[in-house]
Amino acid sequence: MRLLVVLNAAFLCAFAVTMALMILLNQQKFSDILRGLDDSRVSVVTLDASRRLRQAVDLGLPLKDIAESRTMVEALVAEHPELQSVSIFDAGGRLLVHGGNGLSGGGSEAPRVWSAGNREAAGEVWRIEDPESFVVGAPVINNFGKLEGGVAVRYSKARFSGIVEGLTAELLEAAALIFVASGLLAVLGTAAALWRLTRTARYLRQSVENLLAPDPGETPSDTDLAEFVGYSASVRETAATLAAAERNTP
């Protein structure tokens, strides 16, 4: 019984560690894919907005005077409820149009990191993370190569974390059930494997206990414990010699 408990405790530890590793690997890979897809989708939205603004500034209009900006931002926020905000700002970092949730600092200035990221982006999308959101931005550059400003789209980290946590919870639940089932399988299998060994041990014990009895019976022909034959013969012979000596002692 003790052997069964010790063996299975060790196995269950190994099972638990492997399953934990499996959940960790799946969770990490899933969050990588999800993050990549989210980022890619928001990048398409951001680049699209930036291209539409560029078409307007290419006609010579300054970014602040583009009438379409407001409707475009409102339409984006309405179409994509998962976006926290869409902002258009000029090259100096002044917020021109903002839709969705307000920025943490409020005011009329875009966060400095946005303007810096926008300047360094060299026409490509730029990405920034703050404690609550992921930010994807794209610069707006006119056809003379002058940086007019940029578009920044914020989307929530909470939604991302929620999806990942949902997966983790589902996997943990499944793992708990599988752990119980596989543990049961291991316990039953081990018990079956140990059954013959335990039975042989019990029989051996019985044989040893009977050795000093008046009628000890047959000795086991156990090939694995060939020493038992010599052992039992020695015990019997010694017991007999002892008995003879005891009989002769007054």
Partner: protein, 676 residues
């Protein structure tokens, strides 16, 4: 009665029980993890599907918006130029997309871009799916209408590869597979550990006691720890001895004739029993396996970890600085290794091992929290000091427990445990480093070393080894061997290069080179694992080949060439499979070199062995090996500093080739084989 009769059938052998239990455990483990992986894949697909759909909508709308710029100027869609190239560009940016297409109002494909293994776009009635999200073949298709003046003039179509999630998730299947293989190895080790701790030990003790009683010795007794069935058999056997001794003592007290009884028999006349002990080499195999597993967990990323802590203000070149902790490790080991025999004699094997494992565990934790380069070096010294003491103590324990003829088998226990531990560690260490970070992987390593400490505490008795002496040669005699030119030439051409390549190339250069090729931690671990795997499999085979052909010199030369070829192949490719082949060649070469190098010492250096003894010659060989281990990373680091990673690898490869060819030449001439 029937139970008794069936009990007389052939009893299950221990190996048979082990195999059955191991099979059950491995089957349950594999089934559980395979099922969990399948559930995980389904759960991931379910969650990613709406995200991919959203992305497809956004992309289709974006294409439609771009085309609308032209459409609103009354340019017909089919007349637009460069749309194919535009769609091709978009396709490369979005790996989940199987195809992009623009159709006319009737659904005829005008422009398209398809992924390499995508569907034939023109063969599907795309317009029929406009505005919906439906499945065609292996793709999800989304159509966004192009409308001008209230009239539908075409569609922007996006097909999402439904296998994308499955294919992307397949990237972790290798990691999962490796984790599972490691778990299987661990489960098998655990099975053997528990069986050894309980069944094998009990059966060994029972056999000892039976043998003693068969020889007429009734003075022995076994101390039982558990209450399992085998312990009950032992109790019954102890009971027989107690009863016989009680009756014997009563007989003596009664003044009976005991002379005949004493003939050929030994009794516990004073009442105290002689304890029966079984010292087995396998007892240290399991703690050693877990110890090596814990320590080597950082093997695949250690140079990268050091690189992160490197401080240019120290004025040392980065490559040399990265190499330094690895060389310092061997130096620190040198200080504690000689202490093992003395400590075992005074404190016993168990306490010596615990004394070594404790600083190792502390050192690993402290390494994880090291904030500077000097601090890192200090903690590596602590870790290495413990490591050196543990490995030396285990070798001493194996030497104590084995008779001369079984010494090779006992060394096999050491090789199997260190090899198995290293394979598991390099594979899992890389994965953990990538997922949990370097620091947390060190902590996991320290925890595993703690597991090794617990097993050591439970497995070995505190008295074992106390008072044992292991002969150490006189210092003066030992140093004389370094004056032999022939011996030192052999060392310089064989032992020194083989250790230099191990620490300098495999442990130092390989992780840095793979990192430079953008391999992640898991991929680095997988590649390095190949070395230990080949070494473990080929080590015994190489010994057998060496014994069969009795030509150790040839094996050393073949091994050297294999190592050189492995080094050169490794730095000449960027292909993952060829890189693994390079590492495998190094492992193959090392397995050919390691055993014959020791085996040839008494033959090649007969006069030196006669003059100084086998011990000092072997000890000198080990000292040169350690020197190679120290020099390896520093040499590689120095070459990297001025020639770069690739050239450093090539130079090391050519260096091994040159030393091997020189050795071959000397062997052909008969410098070592001729009798002096």
């Amino acid at each position: 009665m029937s139970a008794e009769r069936s009990g007389r059938q052939r009893a299950p052998t221990l190996a048979g029980v082990g195999v059955r239990i191991g099979f059950v455990a491995v089957a349950a483990l594999v089934a559980a993890n395979a099922f969990l992986a399948w559930i995980a894949l389904g759960a991931v697909e379910t969650r990613l599907e709406p995200v991919i759909k959203d992305k497809a909508h956004v992309l289709a709308r974006s294409i439609a918006n771009d085309l609308y710029t032209a459409v609103r100027l009354d340019i017909p869609v089919r007349g637009l130029r460069g749309v194919d190239a535009y769609l091709d560009d978009l396709l490369t940016d979005h790996p989940e997309v199987a195809y992009l297409a623009v159709t006319d109002a009737g659904g005829k494909v005008l422009f398209s871009a398809e992924a390499d293994d995508g569907v034939e776009v023109s063969s599907h009635p795309l317009a029929a799916n406009a505005g919906t999200f439906v499945s065609i073949g292996s793709d999800y298709n989304i159509a966004h209408p192009l409308v001008h003046d209230g009239k539908q003039v075409g569609h922007a179509m996006v097909g999402i590869d439904r296998r994308y999630v499955r294919n992307t998730m397949a990237g972790i299947f290798t990691d999962i597979g490796i984790s599972l293989c490691v778990a299987i190895l661990i489960v098998l080790e655990l099975t053997l550990l528990v069986l050894s701790l309980t069944v094998a030990r009990s059966i060994g003790l029972m056999r000892r006691l039976m043998h003693a009683v068969s020889e007429g010795d009734f003075s022995a007794s076994i101390a039982t720890r558990g209450r399992d069935d085998l312990a009950r058999v032992i109790d019954a056997m102890n009971g027989i001895n107690t009863e016989i001794n009680r009756r014997f003592r009563e007989l003596v007290a009664a003044g009976g004739a005991v002379e005949r009884l004493r003939e050929g028999r030994v009794f516990a006349e004073a009442g105290a029993y002689r304890p029966v002990q079984v010292l087995r080499a396998g007892d240290v195999q399991y703690p050693l396996f877990f110890f090596i597993f814990g320590v080597e967990l950082s093997r695949p990323f250690f140079p990268l970890f050091v690189r992160d802590l490197y401080d240019p203000a120290l004025g040392i070149d980065a490559s040399i600085a990265i190499a330094m902790p690895m060389s310092v490790w061997v130096v620190a080991m040198l200080f504690t290794t000689p202490l093992a025999p003395t400590l075992i004699r005074r404190l016993g094997t168990r306490n010596t091992l615990l004394l070594g494992m404790a600083p190792t565990s502390v050192g690993l934790i402290a390494t994880a929290f090291a904030t500077g380069f000097i601090e890192l070096i200090a903690w590596r010294c602590v870790t290495a000091a413990g490591f050196g003491l543990v490995t030396a103590a285990i070798l001493v324990r194996l030497a104590i427990t084995a008779p001369e003829r079984r010494r090779a088998l006992n060394i096999g226990v050491f090789v199997t445990a260190t090899g198995g531990g290293s394979i598991c560690a390099t594979a899992i260490g890389g994965i953990l480093a990538e997922r949990l970070g370097y620091e947390n992987t060190f902590i996991v390593g320290a925890t595993i070393v703690f597991v090794a400490m617990t097993i050591t505490y439970g497995f070995l008795s505190s008295e074992e080894g106390v008072g044992t002496s292991v002969g150490t040669p006189a210092h003066r005699r030992r140093l004389g061997i370094y004056g032999s030119v022939r011996f030192m030439t052999f060392m310089a051409l064989s032992a020194l290069p083989s250790r230099t390549v191990l620490t300098g190339f495999l442990f130092f250069l390989v992780p840095l080179y793979l990192d430079s090729l953008d391999f992640g931690g898991a991929a680095i671990g997988r590649t390095m694992m190949v070395y230990f795997l080949v070494l473990l499999v080929m080590n015994q085979a190489a010994a057998l080949i060496a014994d069969r052909f009795q030509n150790h010199g040839m094996l050393i030369v073949v091994g050297g060439i294999s190592v050189a070829a492995g080094c050169l192949l490794f730095v000449s490719t960027t292909d993952a499979l060829l890189l693994a082949c390079g590492v495998a060649l190094i492992g193959l070469g090392q397995s050919f070199v390691m055993t014959p190098q020791v085996a040839v010492l008494p033959t090649y250096f007969r006069s030196e062995t006669e003059a100084f003894g086998t011990g000092p010659v072997t000890a000198a060989f080990r000292v040169v090996e350690r020197a190679g281990s120290i020099a390896g990373p520093l040499l590689a680091g120095s070459i990297v500093a001025f020639a770069g990673l690739q050239h450093a690898g090539r130079l090391l490869g050519y260096g091994i080739a040159v030393t091997t060819l020189l050795l071959a030449l000397l062997l052909v001439v008969g410098v070592f084989t001729r009798r002096h």
